[in-house]
């Protein structure tokens, strides 16, 4: 029961309307894609639904519950995790410490436990092993390559056990082999029941990974459907080619 939906969502920065009266509902249990030209408002939509910025108008609901205006940590607590377009990790924390930041439920007992708390450490090491970083747990995050940082960011988000994961350009700035690895990971996580919303410019990845795609242009959804349907849609070509 975590379906994310936005209704009439609007956000302007000065004169620029980044998101304009957008109404979108995600398919639960699916890998949802969100595509659109540069500056069409995809990242702004992420920031709105995660509570990092407040909408000028409209509502955000998770599983039917209105979460508009909630603090980001509460929205995260409702089961929503996200990565950033320019990958963000805690540079001067070790890889293992990065993994232990995420809070599942704010339970004091869990927080007071040392980094040595077995259950947390096992979970952290399990995720690190899954993304292939288990041998780097004592390294500082800033010493990792960009690709490794992206894997760490994803693993750290998964520590919060989100039912819905928003990925902002997971393939941006990483090599083809790693893109394939991230795609495989998303498929596996989706098969385990997690819903995804993926913003991506790499069309091969979108077509290969997503079950359902929403197309954004100038702040609003202009088309939606399966990857094949969307690709065949004239309006999408128009938006991309600017005809």
């Amino acid at each position: 029961m975590t379906t994310l939906a936005v209704h009439g969502l609007t956000k302007a920065f000065g004169g620029v309307v980044a998101v304009r009266d957008a109404t979108v509902e995600l398919r639960e249990g699916a890998v949802n894609g969100l595509i659109g030209p540069n500056g069409s408002g995809k990242t702004t939509l992420f920031n709105l639904v995660t509570g990092m910025i407040r909408p000028d108008a409209g509502r955000v609901t998770i599983g039917g519950r209105d979460v508009t205006g909630w603090a980001p940590h509460r929205i995260a607590g409702a089961g929503l995790g996200r990565t950033f377009q320019l990958c963000r990790v805690f540079g001067r924390l070790t890889v293992l410490e990065n993994m232990l930041v995420a809070v599942r439920r704010t339970r004091l007992r869990e927080l007071a436990g040392g980094l040595g708390n077995r259950a947390d450490l096992d979970r952290a090491r399990g995720w690190l092993a899954r993304v292939g970083l288990e041998h780097l747990e004592t390294a500082e995050a800033r010493d990792l390559s960009y690709g490794q940082q992206k894997l760490l960011e994803l693993a750290a988000v998964l520590m919060a056990d989100p039912a819905l994961v928003l990925l902002d350009e997971p393939a941006g700035g990483v090599n083809p082999a790693l893109i394939e690895r991230i795609a495989a990971l998303v498929r596996d996580l989706n098969a385990e029941g997690r819903t995804f919303l993926v913003v991506e410019h790499n069309m091969d990845l979108v077509m290969g990974l997503c079950d359902h795609v929403v197309v954004f242009d100038r702040g609003s959804p202009i088309a939606a459907g399966t990857p094949a349907e969307v690709q065949a849609d004239g309006r999408v070509l128009e938006a991309y080619l600017g005809v």
Partner: protein
């Protein structure tokens, strides 16, 4: 590379053992100080140094973990001192009880102030913290009926008829115990998930929020805990010193010293503030002694602060570690191993 204590399990065992031995030896040496000090003045100075080490380490509970730089922590020092003194003088409570009540009251006050103060970041937070110490100073000056205003408040001694020297020895150990408690707290927080959240706030606050960390609550808890220890130090100071004057305890210089010491030693390290206090406090006492009540020691503190910020942004502990590593091949092993691992891992990932 800072390897967190628990994360380095195994590989760092010999280094950790040596570290613990050095820690115990250092503690014993400190405990012996009052007996080794040749005169009353040096005993007095010793108390001052340990007091500053406790203050700066307590400051570092919020500064070092969250990166929020409070220049106004002297507000909690003064409040702790005055609350303890007033309770002893006006209600006749025993010193210990007065101290406990004062600390509880200041902690509650700090939590309330914290809720508002930690909402602003960066330099705005610094300004708010300075405003806090100015305001508390003004209130203490003007509430003459309660504080005695600028004519001061005399706090009766802990033990009637104790010589000055013996008083210094007693308070040296009381401040040492407080220092031990603050260090233990910092150490425990450093290893906890709560600590990981605080450090995440320092590195990237919005990112921490997005991972579900209730950042405001975390910051308020750290701020109040830090204030509690500073208030305890203030309360002890009042009883030790025996007289309080608002200008001296609600002092921006005391607050700035806490920051300078932590910055100098290294804010990200358990012993950074302590090291800074052991360097700065004796130096400023020396200049006070050598050049009298001139403002020279303040000017020198300012200059030192500028040098640290410009040339040693991480403090002297990492600089010392780097030098140590270059010398001793034994100590280098941890660093080199992980560097090699990194290089190997970089090549692995694309495959």
């Amino acid at each position: 590379m800072a390897v967190s204590p628990s994360a380095s399990s195994g590989t760092a065992a010999p280094g950790r053992l040596a570290g613990r031995a050095a820690f115990v030896a250092g503690g014993l040496l400190l405990a012996a100080y009052p007996w080794a000090a040749p005169n009353a003045y040096l005993r007095y100075a010793g108390v001052l140094v340990v007091l500053y080490a406790a203050l700066s380490t307590a400051w570092n509970l919020v500064g070092g973990f969250t990166g929020y730089i409070s220049l106004g922590h002297a507000a909690f020092f003064g409040l702790g001192a005055y609350a303890t003194g007033i309770l002893v003088v006006r209600t006749g409570l025993p010193h210990a009880l007065a101290l406990v009540l004062a600390v509880a009251g200041v902690t509650a006050f700090a939590a309330a102030v914290g809720v508002a103060a930690v909402r602003v970041r960066g330099s705005s937070f610094v300004i708010v913290s300075i405003a806090l110490v100015s305001m508390t100073n003004l209130v203490a000056q003007n509430a003459r009926w309660l504080t005695g205003g600028s004519s001061g408040l005399r706090v009766p001694p802990l033990v009637e008829g104790l010589s000055r020297t013996a008083n210094h020895v007693v308070f040296f150990y009381l401040f040492l115990a407080l220092l031990g408690l603050v260090l233990a707290t910092w150490w425990a927080v450093d290893r906890s998930r709560f600590g990981a959240g605080l450090k995440a706030i320092r590195e990237d606050e919005d990112k921490a929020e997005s991972l579900g960390v209730p950042t405001t609550a975390y910051k308020v808890v750290a701020y109040a805990a830090s204030a509690a220890f500073v208030a305890a130090a203030g309360g002890l100071y009042g009883i030790w010193f025996g007289s309080l004057d608002p200008i001296f305890v609600f002092s921006i210089v005391i607050g700035a010293n806490m920051v300078l010491m932590a910055l100098l030693g290294g804010m990200r390290f358990l012993l950074g503030p302590l090291l800074g206090a052991f360097l700065v406090a004796p130096a400023s006492e020396y200049f006070l002694l050598a050049y009298g009540e001139s403002q020279l020691h303040i000017v020198l503190s300012g200059a030192l602060l500028a040098v640290v910020v410009l040339f040693l942004p991480d403090g002297i502990i990492p600089a010392l570690r780097a030098t140590w590593r270059r010398r001793g091949p034994r100590a280098a092993s941890i660093q080199e191993r992980s560097a090699a691992e990194l290089a190997a891992a970089r090549e692995e990932v694309p495959a």
